[in-house]
Amino acid sequence: MSEHFKIVIVGSGPGGLSAAARAAEHGISHVLLEASPHLANTIHHYQKGKQVMAEPMRLPLRSSVNFGAGMRENILQTWHENIAGLSVNLRLNATVSTISGMRGAFQIGLLSGETITAEFVVLAIGVQGNIRKLGVHGEDLARVKYQLDDPDEFVNETIVVVGGGDAGVENALALSRHNRVILLNRQEEFSNCKEANFDLLMAAVTEGKIETRVSTRAERVEELTEGDFPLDFVVQTPQGLEQIKCHRIFARLGANPPRKLVESFGVLFPNKDLTSVPQLSEQYESNVPGLYIVGALAGYPLIKQAMNQGYEVIEYILGNPVEPADDGLLREKFADVHNIHSVSEGIALLRDNQPLLASLTTLQLREFILDSKVWVPHSGEIIFKRNDYSNSFFSILSGQVNIQVVGKGDVEVVFTLKAGDFFGEMGLLSGRRRSGTVVAGENCVLVETPRRSMLKLLSSATGVQRRLDEVSLKRIIRNYLDSSLSDSELEHLVQESQFKQYAVGEVLFNEGDKADGLYMIRRGSVTVSHLVAGKEVVLAYVSAGNYVGEMALVSNNPRSATVKAASPTEVVLLDAERVSAVLQRNSSIRGKIDGRYLERVRSTEAALSSGASGLVKFLMEQGVGEATDVLLIDYSRCVRCNNCEVACADVHDGTSRLNREAGPTYEQIHVPTSCRHCEHPHCMKDCPPDAIHRSVNGEVFIGDNCVGCGNCQNNCPYGVIQMAVKKPYRQRSVWEVIMGVNKVASPAPEESEQSGKKAVKCDMCKGIIAGAACVRACPTGAAMRVSPEVFMGQVL
């Protein structure tokens, strides 16, 4: 006879914990199942003493369990006390393997073979997944660990690290400082780790600090009672079985993502995209009736959100109407709009008036508004200006806006967008300057969505992506080709056009190919090159907002050059025949393209004779192609005084954000290690407090709310972000005071003060009117900040 509960809650993270506590408070029969041997596994595994944030700050907490920003230990302690006080029915080491049935009659199978029946199931398992274990005898021994908290805890031991991925390699490197380390890799090569880690590993192997065994699997782990080593690790190498006697084993084998498991419960996901979340009703119910999903798995990764949902989901199951905790926040968002009186009215207006968002669920719409700003500009107010670097996305809720773009012959063209339209998608997707100025009209209400939220939405909601592409396709054609293009011609071009994506170095088309169409670059940049005597000569660098491939169309010849992506690139490919037909009918567009053709012939000749192709190729290899503003040093003029570094440190709390000497050099052009302010900054990708932004002038900067997690440092392919503490200033000597030397930062603080580290990087001296300190402090004018288009234009 299996046990029966009204509600089974799977996962004791913040969401599940809060749900169980609420159920206990109501006195409902429930059980909280946790696979690991402790409460809230993910948070339990946070680094010791980690400061846990309570973002979003403005969202009120509504839960039977307490939570506030604080140290990991204190938070876990509070939770333990809370659930004990509420007599939550918690069961540890209970891994759920199957869930079947539906509302009223669920059967939950545990790994132990037990079965539990329930009326409702709340799934709060997060996205971390289950850590993969060794899968052999002895995998659960105390000295076999799956997590390394503090590498300096172990000294003079023999330690086996299993796993050739980044986690394994990083752990092995950290442990090798004080221990003998053997690294086991199932594969023949260390191809799964980052190049930087691979280089460090190879250096450590050469120096004899780490031994490796490749193509090797774990066979079994035995505990030894006598001798110097407590463990005997038997492994299968290509040469046969080997016994490794060691003190401990760290296995870093990754985790099984939970999606497969969740799908096996009958839950549907909208698409194959790994980031997509299951479709849920407004009350967190999945397509399986009675199965509710909350927390990170439902797309809400923050602790407070998950806890609120845990509370709400129990109320929903009980049929109690609750206003979601974010209602107050949403009401505030709509406060400025006088014809919207309630949140639901606002949401309904957004859904009805904005075709782009029509496919979203109410839950997603709430999320959308929560991230966005509802803006009521007065008539004539500028929303953004041409050449601004802002990248938020705007939907027009009501009223209208006027967009001014520079058209043919530098004449300003104005067109109007009305309620239901959206704008700002080009800046969002290209990561480049705004192509037009937008001015608010009468009674205008706008929803401004920040880049990060919009990108998240685009990747999780295919409907939005499709609709956005449809509209932006036409805009791109008008904007790139000719704004006077008639609607019928536009329709004609849109058919058979397609979006295409290219990775760095991928070829759009080769020299000698038959012309397949016109490539309009929506995002990224490309290089145009030509083979001269078997050597690739770069002729041009073309960035987003322009097109390539017109030469072959105009001349009716095969492709005269090869075009390659210089950074991750997205293009709109217009069909060759349709473009030719349109050109034949429209002499003005034809004239424009002819002009471009002649210009390209001229620049090709110039590039062939300038001999700068090698330099351009070098800069592309350094990732300058995806930069918006890069610091270059003309070494033929640099007197190596390092004034640039000193000046940088002086205006940035004592830490220079550039390293003059590091970085590659080609002939006399040096690329120091310094931020390039990428179009699509890699550092922004995974910033938990969303602290990295791009200012209107293009500077990518890290805000004060940085929590020092180091994600951006790891994500930056150019190594320009450091973790630093603010350095106190030291006393100046009398001589320095007389000479007017500024306050000098004292040397790096001791290890003990390192805890307050935050990420720092070049911010192009944002806020200093006279400009970048490095460039101003260069006595010979060797240091220069340039955008790649301008620089390539000068050298080619």
Partner: protein, 326 residues
């Protein structure tokens, strides 16, 4: 490739300071020629000499201020002030609106901040440009101020010191224009620290290779390891070579010894050792050249700066003396 992408510090802002300096020199010369034939002597005691003296002194002060300015970087305080004024929340202008440029400039002016503000000091490149061009003009101005009259006195001492400072400055100009390029060509993407590390590794490698070889060879290798010098004292740094470099000697000797030891596996060991020593020698040459070029790029400042301070002292004495014994 030697394309000059932008103006260098001599041609800064389309030779702005060259033009200024040429203008000043031209006017001074014309004035001198105009006064000289008519009034006979035109030295410091005449009104023209007096004017030229004041002008030269002011220029000298300006040039010396460059040295101070160069060591002063933008003030942190200036940035804070600007940040505050840029923060829109605290300004009466509604959020989202641009602060009108005029209004912003006025606010900045009140705080003493503007792009051309003396406190921001423009770019250092501009300062260096004026430093060089105006410094050169001093040759003409001071000579005319002296009216070609020289003697064994404090007045001529300041004049000579000034010429010495300018001469060292000319060397500095030459160094700045030429050595940076040579440094890059010599060192490429390496750094000196990397090369020294590599040299140490090669030393170790050579030691291991030599173990199986006769004592004679081991002695050579030991000598090459212990007595090879990179850098050294001031003159050694400037020269950029080590006469009788033990590494080069060892490499040559081993080539000669090759014929002597033809035991079983020794020729191969000897060849390997030779390759290592040769590699080290090449690295040594590059490291020494790096140090030499850096030294030649920088050493003149150790003359230029003390001499200019001496000049300042002499100049003060000169001015005082002139006032006392008018």
């Amino acid at each position: 490739m030697s394309t000059m992408y932008r103006s260098n510090f001599l041609s800064f802002k389309n030779y702005r300071y060259f033009k200024l300096s040429a203008l000043v020199m031209g006017i001074a010369l014309l004035a001198y020629l105009w006064v000289e034939p008519a009034g006979g002597q035109a030295y410091g005691g005449t009104w023209l000499g007096y004017l030229l003296g004041i002008l030269s002194t002011l220029i000298i002060f300006l040039l010396m201020w460059y040295g101070v300015h160069k060591r002063r970087t933008p003030k942190v305080m200036d940035r804070r002030q600007y940040d505050r004024s840029a923060r829109r929340k605290q300004s009466p202008i509604p959020a989202g609106a641009e602060i009108p440029v005029r209004q912003r400039r006025a606010a900045d002016r009140r705080k003493g901040i503007s792009k051309t503000s003396w406190r921001f000091g423009g770019t250092l490149q501009g300062w260096l440009s004026s430093h060089v061009h105006l410094g050169i003009s001093l040759i003409v101005l001071a000579t005319l101020h002296a009216g070609f009259e020289f003697g064994w006195n404090v007045h001529t001492l300041s004049y000579v010191l000034m010429l010495l400072v300018i001469a060292s400055g000319f060397y500095g100009l030459y160094a700045y224009m030429n050595f940076p390029r040579q440094i890059t060509q010599n060192i490429g993407e390496d750094t000196l620290a990397d090369m020294l590390l590599k040299i140490a590794e090669l030393d170790e490698l050579a030691r291991i290779r030599a173990l199986g070889l006769p004592d004679e060879v081991n002695l050579l290798v030991l000598d090459a390891r212990q007595h090879t010098r990179v850098g050294g004292n001031f003159l050694q740094q400037l020269s950029g070579v080590q006469p009788h470099c033990p590494t080069a000697y060892a490499a040559r000797q081993i080539l000669n010894l090759g014929e002597k030891y033809i035991a079983d596996d020794q020729p191969k060991l000897l060849r390997d050792l030779y390759a290592v020593l040769l590699h080290k020698e090449k690295l040594l040459i590059r490291a020494r050249t790096e140090i030499m070029l850096k030294a030649r790029l920088e050493f003149w400042l150790y003359l230029h700066v003390p001499l200019s301070i001496a000049l300042l002292a002499a100049l003060m004495t000169h001015v005082l003396a002139v006032f006392f014994y008018w």
